[in-house]
Symmetry: C2
Subunit: 232 residues, 2 copies
């Protein structure tokens, strides 16, 4: 089971301490989300925009003084006395990442009994494809994440092998809701179904995903170890 060196980082604090330390960065991401939306929609005077551009570069430079190398990845929080070792993930994720300013973010609730994942969220002007409508690929992006979380919630973890999307009607920008659930499973494969509804509750996009547990994870299981989390 090979790993790229930048998948994991170990920090010598407890998981509670690590999570608490991230809140200040989460607040920054929320401010930058506001700036993202203002950027695509602003029509203020060019001089104001030029000054803002210079200020944004200066802010970015200050934050770049100390960067996590490459990507956020997964953090293993293990305090100095050796306790802990929790894997903490998802802060950088493109859909749900609370530290990621391009994530809506979508807050997903999982139901482990039902093997499902659902969310209500808002897609702003940043997610536009056809005029006034959510980009079809953004619908795919959100549904892929939901399907993966439903698979994990239903104890049918795996990686996306195939994803099929059916676009039934254009989805207006604004409030949306989505749900994914385990529809079938066999051995190391599972089928996840999902829908995405508009603010009126009409289904606009349907998805069906085939999730497959990769070989290294099967070997991991066969060796009697705990089930690995999805594609860690």
């Amino acid at each position: 089971m090979s790993r790229d060196p930048f998948e994991y980082r170990t920090v010598d604090v407890t998981d509670e301490e690590f999570v608490a330390s991230q809140e200040v960065y989460v607040d920054l991401a929320e401010a930058v989300r506001r700036l993202n939306r203002a950027t695509v929609l602003t029509q203020v005077d060019p001089d104001v925009v030029r000054r803002a551009t210079a200020d944004v570069h200066a802010l970015a430079a200050a934050l770049e003084a100390d960067l996590i190398p490459n990507n956020f990845g997964v953090v293993i929080a293990k305090s100095a006395d050796g306790t802990g070792g929790s894997r903490i993930r998802g802060y950088g994720n493109a859909v749900v990442g609370r530290r990621n300013p391009i994530a809506a973010p979508v807050e997903i609730e999982v139901d482990r009994e039902e093997g499902s994942a659902s969310a209500t969220f808002t897609l702003s002007a940043l997610f536009e494809g056809p005029p006034g409508k959510v980009h079809g690929g953004v619908s795919a992006l959100v549904l892929d994440q939901l399907c993966g979380e439903a698979a994990a919630a239903g104890n049918a973890p795996g990686m996306t092998g195939k994803l099929e999307l059916r676009y039934r009607k254009p989805l207006a920008l604004g409030e949306c809701s989505a749900k994914a659930w385990v529809d079938a499973r066999s051995d190391y494969k599972s089928v996840i179904k999902a829908w995405l509804k508009d603010a009126e509750g009409e289904i606009c996009v349907e998805a069906s995903g085939l999730f497959i547990l990769p070989r290294w994870a099967r070997e991991h299981l066969a060796a009697g170890q705990d089930a690995p989390e999805q594609f860690e």
Copy 2:
């Protein structure tokens, strides 16, 4: 053929004037992309982050003093003397929008003779799903846009009806390339195929899309008018 009121805006300048007027906002979006990446990866001192958060809110407020309502949509540039009327689109698009800070952006080249669209682009830490890898849904997002542009380039315009994605291997964050082309067409439907390769040139994701010209567009064509652009 009904339209939501916020799909189109008309501006009383020529298209050249409008495009030139956007460059200052394009520069801002590029700066905000840099800030997005710094935000997900920074580990500078919490006090620096708190000050940056306040500054970002202040910048957003300044830009919010005059916003395009709702969404960027499509601009019809028509100068005061009545010339022009070009439809200008794509500045706000979630994948290719040069004014949209959450767009990579992907710069797509189309080949009208071949009926294809291709692009080379970089997906940074902002597009992470599995640790160190591009989010499977981000691959879908990019491929959906490529497929739509290939359909338009091949004069087989339409809306995405179905999109199928096959994930062959995880795609590392970094440089990627993608290509989509018209594979088959009949009447008002076309099949578009596409691939997404990693920096080593290996295919990681394949896509197949069914594109359908909506009924209002067929009626538009039947009435002897020009072929409408994809889903305008």
